[in-house]
């Protein structure tokens, strides 16, 4: 065999200039048992990089895949699952937003309590525009208060007078 021809073909192959037919011929020539040692390396190259045409899948594979497709077609599980999960996510978001809004606006906020108390004290509305009328109303209110207080004093005086009687009795018996 003319090995120089083989070497030229190899050079052409590694330059990417061979046709598919030339590559087939090259692989065939490299199978020669009398090949010089350096060229045997390229036999290993082709044997290792080429995958046998016998590596194939049979009709059972097709059946398995087609069965999968048919089953998937009849059930349509994916869109239903997607719709359900979308609704679930949407309802959770609505709940969180509504809950947050209600809490912020309607529930007492512990962080703002002190501030609101001070504000209430500072913003008491005047009910009387006329100072004289206001004084009269204040006097009435204080009189009512003092009358209630006096009741207590009278009761205390009555009780203490009773105690005085008892103490007098005790003194006389001594």
């Amino acid at each position: 065999m003319e090995y120089s021809e083989l070497k030229i073909l190899l050079d052409k192959y590694f330059l990417g200039e061979t046709t598919p037919d030339e590559e087939k011929a090259l692989k065939k020539k490299l199978q020669d048992e009398t090949l010089p040692e350096p060229l045997k390396l390229f036999r290993t190259f082709f044997e290792s990089t080429n995958i046998s045409e016998k590596i194939q899948l049979n009709d059972d594979f097709d059946k398995k895949i087609v069965d999968f497709i048919n089953a998937e077609n009849s059930i349509h599980p994916k869109p239903a699952i997607r719709l359900f999960s979308f609704l679930r996510a949407a309802s959770i978001i609505i709940l969180i937003v509504t809950g947050g809004f209600l809490m912020y606006n309607y529930l007492p906020n512990k962080f703002n309590n002190k501030e609101t108390e001070i504000n209430n004290l500072l913003t008491i509305d005047d009910t009387y525009q006329d100072p004289v009328l206001a004084r009269q109303e204040l006097e009435k209110a204080l009189e009512l208060l003092s009358s209630k207080m006096n009741k207590g004093n009278e009761l205390a005086a009555q009780k203490s007078s009773k105690l005085q009687v008892i103490s007098n009795v005790l003194k006389t018996t001594d």
């Binding site: 990417g16 290993t44 190259f45 999968f68």
Partner: protein, 171 residues
Amino acid sequence: MDYKRTFTETILPLKNNLMRYSYSFLKDRHKAEDMVQETMIRMWNIKEKWREMDNLQGYCLGIIRHLCLDELRKRKNHYYALNVAHQEQSTDNDPLEHYSSKEVVVAISNAMLKLPEKQHFCFHLRENEGMTYEQISEILGISMDQVKVNIFRARNYIKKEILKKVEYGVQ
């Protein structure tokens, strides 16, 4: 679009091509078949996007490549490469020669795994499917010049890796 028809007429016939591509990575028929099956199922699950894809075959190759690389990561590449070497049949009686041949096979396997995606696709389609540059350019959606450059680089990278292992080369 009749998805089922498109699938059975366009995607399912790619099974042997994908099987050989997967086998070139994994060197295990059963695992390679699993990868093809997973690729088919994934393609079916994205059927609504088929219209947007320029080339279904190129897309399938992309899916199976990633599946195979994930599988190899699980296996740990180093031990895998050694196992490949043990599977190789040698007719040589000389133990040293036998060992050298194994070393070369391991070097080739490792070099193949290191090829960039496009180079690996081009190399595979040319070497194992016997496709012309034009057919490859259509499948991968790249120009013929790019196909040629990718094949040139892939072949020479593997050659360089082999020659690193062997002290002598072809003059």
